[in-house]
Symmetry: C2
Subunit: 441 residues, 2 copies
């Protein structure tokens, strides 16, 4: 994409109303624009990052055997009356009346709707287990929206729901999602630790929050460094292997990790001091096993193998897709701007022509753009504008693409271009061919 034809409104000044670094950088780098309190438009660069995060989340859900569907944003109040949550939910639920005075709401989550959908089709044990998920906009009417997309009102969430015939099955489904989350966050380039959580308004007795460490996090977290040392996604066992499952959960819960809500000073004191990690954390995912809370209240039953009716065991599993963009920036930036992990970067390469008024530079940059476009599937942002070189460097550092290729007249005389890695700041002079070869790898 040529910047001269793009829409990327970056700002030099830090917006006065932004308090945390991710919010500041998202506004400055032209990723988002606030359109109402806690509601944001995703500008072209931000839209691309959002889609990249969404796609990684999707691929890992699919890999875990979850099945994608798509539920609508608006739901009927009657559906929530079936579970009893309509009156219980409180003012964070955005309640709406349509032209016929029918009560609707903007879905803050989808336990009721997925239970109704699956209830109306599933007949017997042959239809279970299933985990169904969707990636859809949600709305929670926060009393004081702030921190940009970290605590917005309209937000994109992946929410999955599992249905099993018994508790052992449900715990296996929970385990599969937990594993998928570990893989998802690793691919996104963030370290997210699953921590024992209070179950809150969803209900249930087994629950983990996935927390990304960042100084601006909303809660204090405590964990044993042994957590980071272990590859939790390497555990594998078949459905029905209760011994394997129990061993996994025993191992998982033996390594200390808790938010301030569930923190236990006595157990914390047992963690060796050199392994104690404490800091602020941002919740980017939350998983729950809650048994028959919704299936029972909404009258879902299926026929078991022995012919008797069974009320399925359920769990739900959320990832804050739009919030993750803020969390990634909180965890990956420097004074000059964002440092995108390659997996989510809006473009992989920023190509800078230092001199738009220099025919040789223009020809060389156009040529490299054409060749990189071929190599990297159009994942190049080309600053072909007639601006000062210094301003172009600052903009590229701000928007944080993993690689920069700089074309200037002096380098061209010697037959070289500069390749800079954004994360390390490391610069190298290379021939055009070598630079292309490096970026193709």
């Amino acid at each position: 994409m040529r910047l001269s034809r793009y829409f990327m409104p970056v700002a030099k000044e830090t917006p006065a109303d932004a308090q945390i670094v991710s919010h500041k950088l998202m506004l400055r780098a032209g990723l988002i624009r606030q359109t109402a309190a806690g509601i944001y438009a995703w500008l072209p660069l931000g839209q691309r990052v959002l889609r990249n995060i969404e796609q990684i989340v999707r691929e890992e859900q699919d890999r875990a055997g979850a099945i994608e569907l798509l539920m609508p944003t608006l739901q009927s109040a009657d559906l929530w009356r079936q579970s009893g949550r309509y009156d219980a939910y409180g003012p964070e639920m955005l309640r709406i009346k349509d032209r016929h005075e029918r009560e609707l709401l903007y879905g803050p989550t989808n336990e009721e709707m997925i239970t109704a959908i699956f209830r109306d089709s599933a007949r017997s044990y042959r239809d279970l287990p299933r985990t169904l998920y969707h990636i859809q906009w949600k709305f929670r009417d926060e009393i004081r929206p702030r921190f940009g997309v970290m605590r917005g009102r309209e937000f994109l969430m992946k929410d999955a729901y599992s249905f099993d015939m018994d508790e052992a099955g449900a715990r296996h489904s929970y385990f599969e999602q937990l594993q998928a989350y570990i893989r998802t966050f690793r691919r996104l380039g963030v370290q997210a630790v699953p921590m024992k959580a209070a179950s809150g308004p969803i209900g249930g007795d087994l629950s983990h929050e996935f927390i990304v460490l960042a100084p601006t996090g909303e809660s204090e977290v405590f964990y044993d460094a042994a957590f980071e040392a272990e590859d939790w996604s390497s555990h594998r066992f078949e459905r029905g292997d209760t011994a394997g499952l129990n061993a996994f959960f025993k191992r998982l819960t033996s390594v200390y990790a808790a938010t301030d809500e569930t923190h236990d000073e006595a157990r914390w004191a047992e963690v060796p001091a050199d392994r104690q990690r404490q800091g602020r954390g941002i919740e980017v995912g939350h998983i729950f096993y809650f048994g028959t809370k919704y299936s029972a209240s909404m009258g879902m039953k299926v026929q078991g193998r022995d012919g008797a009716e069974v009320v399925p065991q359920m769990g739900s599993y959320g990832i804050g897709v739009s919030r993750l963009m803020g969390a990634i920036i909180e965890a990956s930036h420097d004074d000059a701007g964002i440092i995108w992990p390659e997996a989510v970067a809006p473009y992989q390469v920023g190509l800078i022509n230092m001199r738009a008024d220099h025919a040789g530079c223009v020809a060389a940059a156009d040529d490299i753009y054409a060749k990189l476009g071929g190599l990297a599937g159009g994942r190049v942002l080309y600053d072909d504008r007639d601006e000062r070189g210094g301003a172009k460097f600052a903009t590229m550092d701000l928007i944080g693409l993993p690689w920069q290729v700089v074309i200037g007249p002096k380098g061209l005389e010697r037959g070289v271009v500069e390749l800079k890695q954004r994360r390390t700041g490391e610069k190298q002079e290379l021939s055009v061919e070598s630079a292309l070869a490096r970026l193709a790898g």
Copy 2:
């Protein structure tokens, strides 16, 4: 995907409340489930088709140089007061109050928001022309939602907005979108004719509706068969080539095509009788050039080349992404069910094992599934369930995948499988290797 682990609730009976064939088939084939009046959940098969349609629309927008962003579903009423449309829009606009009694609405379209976003960043002629688009859920509170997703309330729309310095530029942007629409619908496998349209509530003086012919269409349409004979997407000229642009529009408007709203009996009578095409049509796209209607009312100005302030010329361009699914089915089905064009089919191949209780059939089908998965990128739906062959055939015909591969014990004895093309019904016996080779191509 193995059907034994999928969620695809098909129904034998035709739902009583569905009046048109696409609605009936979408319910029966398990593509959608109504969750409130005019609001639908997209079940796994429907979600896949929706994503395929969306992706084709996106690729053709990108090819036309439009830039993707993503605006939120909820908008502030104040934004619509700037253009004067808040009070004018009528009861189809879903109006909402949040917990602080602030007025919001669920966006039915985005002229105001995109104008505000672009207005706050664009400074001069160097920032124009630009066409910006997004693909997002919209809501229109239809008084009587019906015909399934064809006239639903919550629907997915691609809407693009162009900003130009003058009318000639705006007409070129309009032309680019018109061309993109012709390519989009052709790739989707539907014949959509652009017809002169009344401009309606968006305003403006140049407008075309794109109409798919189908007996259940909402309006009567009239066009000259010469329309179908011409490749309208082959016209190409540069920005600034006013002569080329005018010649194109002259040619376009010289071939008669109109809806009942703009129908002109005198001009119709001039079309040779053997070229007169008349029938019912479904609107799947609508494009508008409306000049400065929104830029002027919302105070958007940029600096021209000569330093003087210019109010940009705008157009807007919509495609009903979710409605298209219904329109495609209306245009492509038979008594047995849906016939998906390959470009949008949820899976390319339906693999049927006739005998789940026959070890040889299971082994052969599993083997073909593994090989097809490798060839076709997981685009195979494998009916591995323990059901009668007849029921499996009926289901596959109903859901309309382009190809069926049938494995039975008698064929296996002779070393062959059956390959059936859904559209033609043509069946062939082939060796496994030949069938794989055919489907790989």
